[in-house]
Symmetry: C2
Subunit: 168 residues, 2 copies
Amino acid sequence: MKLIEAKQQFISSWGAFGTHWGINRTMAQIHALLLVSADPLTQDDMMEQLNISRGNTNMNIRELINWGLVERILLSGERKEYFTAEKDIWKVVRQIVKERKKRELEPMLQLLDKLENVEGDKRDKHVKTFVDTVSSIKKLGKQADKTLDMMIKAEESWFVGTMMKFFK
Amino acid sequence: MKLIEAKQQFISSWGAFGTHWGINRTMAQIHALLLVSADPLTQDDMMEQLNISRGNTNMNIRELINWGLVERILLSGERKEYFTAEKDIWKVVRQIVKERKKRELEPMLQLLDKLENVEGDKRDKHVKTFVDTVSSIKKLGKQADKTLDMMIKAEESWFVGTMMKFFK
DNA sequence: CTATGTTTTCAATAAATTTTGAAATTTCGA
DNA sequence: TCGAAATTTCAAAATTTATTGAAAACATAG
């Protein structure tokens, strides 16, 4: 397979993959394109390679910057802005985990804390089922929170190496 | 907070949560409703409690059954079908992980295997960047695959207990 | 300061996804 | 076997989400 074709397959699959994880196709595709590009790209480069409009490109680049996955680069002597993606995949994963944890897991845990204190007699099976379900989700969520915190702080080599042995 | 109100908040948040993870709102809400219901429910119960149509209810119940999260129950002497959700959250998580791994991670790893063998000279920086990116994603993906396999096989008590110590 | 190239915004439009509801099919008691 | 109850299907409608493109805002060289 030729490079250009391989790139296209990668970009297209990464886009489809993203849509299963609540990320829009274009955002995932821009990210993929930057991941496999040796040099920084301009908005116009992306528009051309992905066949998307200027507005779409611009909005999704900014969103990727918000997620901490893409960086704006100013080349001296150049009027245009250039962009690159973090290429260290372990860093990318940690960054995504960090953001999603903050945006989703933490608010959910807060809500569960509140819901656990519902009024009513726990001997009533309806109350009991509710409280038991909420409590067990909370317990698992808290554990996930801790585990992810550790993962965010860990170095890849440490993480992979230790997990390897651990789960041999 | 009253039970009925708490249930509603739980269902509504679970639905919103689901949409961030590529799961449609109704499917997540039906799952949530069943999780906090003490007794099995019929389609009509769900239609009424969630204010959704018969067709929508039916399709999403079937999808939940495909995911292995909901079970059909036949009560003797009853014409209607009843449904319950697996209440053991650890089992639920393992089931979801198992399915998503099969549907998403495994196909992605297959693709990366193929893309890694792109034609061209690796001294060309464009080829090198592509191959390096694909390889490092593949490496991390394979590690995730193993880790998740182990998690799928593990008992919750073992998992949480060991992780607790591990990440103390 | 001005002219020109570049980026950003956002209302309108398009596309994708979800939901409905009525008809078709299936199930099962009598 | 028949017929009422229950389930399933799926084309059409509604809703949500993504994308466009032109106008406005901004930035910089001259």
